[in-house]
């Protein structure tokens, strides 16, 4: 995928994530579109596209929405490297692939983020992590399956 397309996709996802997605929260917890897009890119596109998207989306999110510069770039990059390792063993047409990869990405993102917050001496309870993990993971899986089904034919025919 061309760099400009990756940038525009990152921008679009950020705009949706910071505005419209806020309205579909469950117990004030929202899905993470970036993880879903990363997984779809990992299934259908090359390694360079996944890494580029991870860096771009992480940078935009850190600049305009995060209290720490670097946290999302690092987390999305780590997730993308892991997805690259795993995606080759999965079947592109099987629904289990995105479900497993989204669950893996979401868990990793929140566990590492929780660790960073603890290192920075911020007071978040382990129960908050469990709440976020359970709800965000469920939402990401639901939205991931919908997006996977909607884009599957188009991306396979590409």
């Amino acid at each position: 995928m061309k760099a400009i397309r990756i940038f525009l996709l990152s921008l679009l996802v950020f705009l949706l994530q910071s505005t419209i997605v806020q309205k579909i929260s469950v117990y004030e917890i929202i899905p993470n579109l970036n993880i879903i897009i990363l997984v779809l890119l990992a299934i259908y596109y090359d390694d360079k596209t996944i890494i580029s998207y991870a860096l771009m989306s992480g940078l935009i999110q850190d600049f305009y929405s995060s209290p720490y510069i670097g946290s999302n770039i690092m987390l999305y990059s780590v997730i993308s490297l892991l997805l690259i390792r795993f995606e080759s063993v999965f079947n592109k047409t099987n629904i289990i692939s995105p479900v497993f990869l989204i669950a893996l990405g979401t868990s990793l993102y929140n566990i590492i983020f929780f660790t960073i917050l603890k290192v920075l001496n911020l007071n978040f309870s382990i129960y908050r992590l469990f709440d976020i993990l359970i709800i965000e993971l469920s939402l990401n899986v639901i939205f991931g399956i919908v997006l996977f089904k909607l884009t599957q034919n188009y991306l396979l025919d590409r």
Binding site: L16, I69, M74, S77, N110
Partner: protein, 283 residues
């Protein structure tokens, strides 16, 4: 060899990013030119998208509540009949009148606390993740907002400006904030002061300086004016009191007055550059 080089790059990058996280902890004093440049596209787009999604949500809520309102109306009519009868029978005694007068004074005190320089701003977007209660407003340096400017909504404390761009600001709420808030408990006959020592899961935990303070749930908490927050701004309400015998000072749990989920507009109390720099240095 290539694999080792790649691993080295990854390790160096992770370390650089960790340093960046540490450096930006507490908010940067200024944002980059690139961030300012793109904010002229991002912030107005977020404003439009947020307005549309707010509008749609309100309409959907209105539709779903029609049936609920019909049931409630019936219940309220019944309740009204009973209350009218009870109202005639009830008389306020002297203590209650005194309490009401005191409460009235306190509420006026909060309402009359007008700030000289302020900017009203719209909430254009919220934190993209689930860990913070941060949001972005459509006012920045050009509108007179500075880092550490205090943000309020409906006379209640929201938080402070964390980072400022030309036409936008990131606001961090009191429940995400590590800075201590000095507060006073609104009481009828005594003044109890304390400070917020920690925040957890959307609630604030405060310590009261007076060991034998007579506290009860529902008491209102206001700022004292020490620190960056101005005097007399409503913070929240006491929802639980912890009288641990091992601890000398009483601990209270406070629910913030502001429901951060439904914020649409906020007021930013502006400060001058010198104040902002002074607070930055003292932190």
């Amino acid at each position: 060899m290539e694999s080792r080089f790649r691993n080295l790059i990854i390790i160096v990058s992770v370390l650089a990013l960790l340093l960046s996280i540490g450096y930006s902890n507490g908010g940067r004093t200024s944002v980059t030119i690139v961030e300012n440049l793109f904010s002229y596209i991002i912030v107005p787009t977020q404003d439009v998208l947020t307005s549309i999604s707010n509008d749609v949500t309100e309409r959907v809520n209105d539709i779903t509540k029609v049936f609920e309102y019909r049931e409630k109306l019936k219940a309220l009519e019944e309740e009204n009949k009973v209350l009218k009868e009870e109202n005639i029978a009830l008389t306020l005694d002297q203590v209650q009148i005194k309490q009401l007068e005191k409460l009235k004074t306190n509420l006026n005190f909060i309402k009359q606390n007008k700030f000289e320089d302020y900017v009203t701003a719209k909430v254009v977007s919220k934190d993209s993740g689930n860990w913070f209660n941060m949001f972005t407003i459509n006012a920045g340096l050009k509108q007179g907002v500075k880092k550490y400017s205090v943000v309020v909504a409906n006379n209640a404390l929201v938080g402070r400006v964390y980072e400022v761009g030309d036409n936008y600001s990131k606001v961090i709420t009191i429940v995400d904030n590590k800075s201590k808030i000095s507060f006073e408990v609104l009481s009828l006959d005594k003044q109890y002061q304390g400070y917020i020592e920690s925040t957890q899961d959307g609630l604030l935990t405060g310590r009261i300086f007076e060991p034998n303070a007579e506290l009860s749930n529902g008491m209102k908490i206001i700022t004292t004016g020490q620190g960056i927050y101005p005097e007399g701004v409503l913070v929240g309400e006491v929802i639980s009191i912890n009288n641990d015998e091992d601890e000398f000072l009483q601990r209270v749990t406070i629910e913030p007055e502001v429901d951060f989920r439904y914020l649409k507009y906020v007021t930013v109390i502006t400060i001058d550059q010198e104040q902002s720099e002074w607070i930055n240095e003292s932190n």
